[in-house]
C-alpha cells in the first residue's frame, strides 16, 4: 500500500512538472513570437499573423524551444536569416546606436535647459 502511495505521488509530481514546463514553453513562445516582425504582412507581429510565413516561423520557434535553445539563440538564428529588421527590439550596434543614444542625448539636453532656467530663476 505504501509503495502504491509513493508511486502515485511520484507519478503526479512528474505530471505536474511536465505541465509546468509546457506552460513555461508556451509563455516563452508567445513572448518570442510577439517580438518577431511578420515580413510579408507589415505592421503585424508573427504572433498576430496567420500568413504562410508566420505559420512557418511559429513552427520553427516551437521546435527550437523544444530543442532547448534560449530566446537569444532563436533571435540570433532569425537575424542571421533575415537581418535585424525581423526583430522588433533592435540590438545596440553600429546601425542602431543613434536610435538608442538619441533619446538619452535629448533627455540630457532637456535636463540641462531646465537646470539652467531654474538656476537662473533662483539667482
Amino acid at each position: 500500500m505504501k509503495i502504491l502511495k509513493v508511486f502515485i505521488s511520484v507519478f503526479l509530481l512528474i505530471g505536474f512538472l511536465e505541465l509546468k514546463s509546457e506552460e513555461n514553453n508556451s509563455e516563452l513562445k508567445s513572448e518570442i513570437l510577439k517580438n518577431i516582425r511578420c515580413l510579408i504582412c507589415q505592421g503585424q507581429s508573427v504572433y498576430d499573423s496567420e500568413s504562410e510565413f508566420a505559420s512557418s516561423i511559429k513552427l520553427i520557434v516551437d521546435r527550437k524551444i523544444n530543442k532547448g535553445l534560449s530566446e537569444d539563440e532563436i533571435y540570433h538564428f532569425l537575424r542571421e536569416k533575415y537581418g535585424d529588421w525581423v526583430i522588433y527590439d533592435p540590438q545596440l550596434n553600429k546601425n542602431t546606436y543613434i536610435l538608442w543614444l538619441l533619446p538619452l542625448l535629448i533627455f540630457l539636453f532637456g535636463g540641462a535647459i531646465i537646470y539652467k532656467k531654474t538656476s537662473k530663476k533662483n539667482e
Binding site: L39, I40, S56, K81, G83
Partner: protein, 173 residues
C-alpha cells in the same frame, strides 16, 4: 530680435519635418530582406519529391558546381511565369537546379511538372515551410544562387525574368 530668431528656428524645423515626410512618401513601405552577409547553405534533411527518400544537404549539394535553389508551388501564379526561364536555365551544363516545393499538394505539384516540364535535377518537399526559412526565404517564388564553396551568394525575390537569367549566366561564367 530674439522673437525673430525663434520664428526662424521654428520655420527651419517645420521645413525639415516637411522634407522628411515628403521624402518618406516616395519610399516603399514593403521591406525586402537583403543578404547582408554571405552565408553557407543550411544543414538539413529533406524528402525527395519523386522517391520519398530522405536526402541530406551534403548529398544534395555534393557536386563541384553552381546550384540554383528555386522555391515554387503549383498554387503560385508567378511560378508559372518564371517556369519557362527555369527550363532555359536547366540547359546550362555548369549549374544544377534544385526545386523546393513549398506547402503544396503533391498531386497538384506533379501535374504542374508534367504540364510545364521539369527543370530541376532534384525536387525537395517543404510542406511546413521550414526549409525555406532555413534558406532565409519568406515566400514563393524565390531563387538562390549557391557557389562552388556552397555559399548562398545571391537571392532573387519574386519571379525571375530575362535580366535575372542574364545576371545568373554572368555569375556562373
Amino acid at each position: 530680435m530674439k522673437n525673430k530668431l525663434n520664428l526662424f528656428g521654428v520655420i527651419i524645423f517645420l521645413i525639415f519635418c516637411f522634407i522628411i515626410f515628403y521624402k518618406g512618401l516616395d519610399n516603399s513601405n514593403t521591406y525586402t530582406p537583403k543578404i547582408s552577409k554571405i552565408f553557407s547553405i543550411p544543414i538539413f534533411e529533406a524528402k525527395d519529391f519523386n522517391s520519398n527518400a530522405y536526402f541530406t544537404s551534403k548529398k544534395i549539394f555534393e557536386d563541384d558546381t553552381f546550384y540554383i535553389v528555386n522555391i515554387w508551388a503549383s498554387w503560385c501564379v508567378p511560378c508559372r511565369t518564371e517556369h519557362p526561364l527555369l527550363m532555359e536555365l536547366s540547359k546550362n551544363q555548369s549549374l544544377k537546379l534544385i526545386g523546393l516545393n513549398y506547402k503544396d499538394n503533391l498531386n497538384n505539384a506533379k501535374k504542374f511538372i508534367n504540364e510545364f516540364g521539369n527543370p530541376y535535377s532534384q525536387i525537395l518537399i517543404d510542406n511546413e515551410g521550414i526549409l525555406s526559412v532555413e534558406f532565409g526565404a519568406y515566400g514563393v517564388p524565390e531563387t538562390f544562387i549557391i557557389d562552388k564553396d556552397k555559399k548562398i551568394i545571391r537571392k532573387f525575390i519574386g519571379p525571375i525574368n530575362k535580366e535575372i537569367v542574364e545576371q545568373i549566366r554572368l555569375i556562373i561564367k
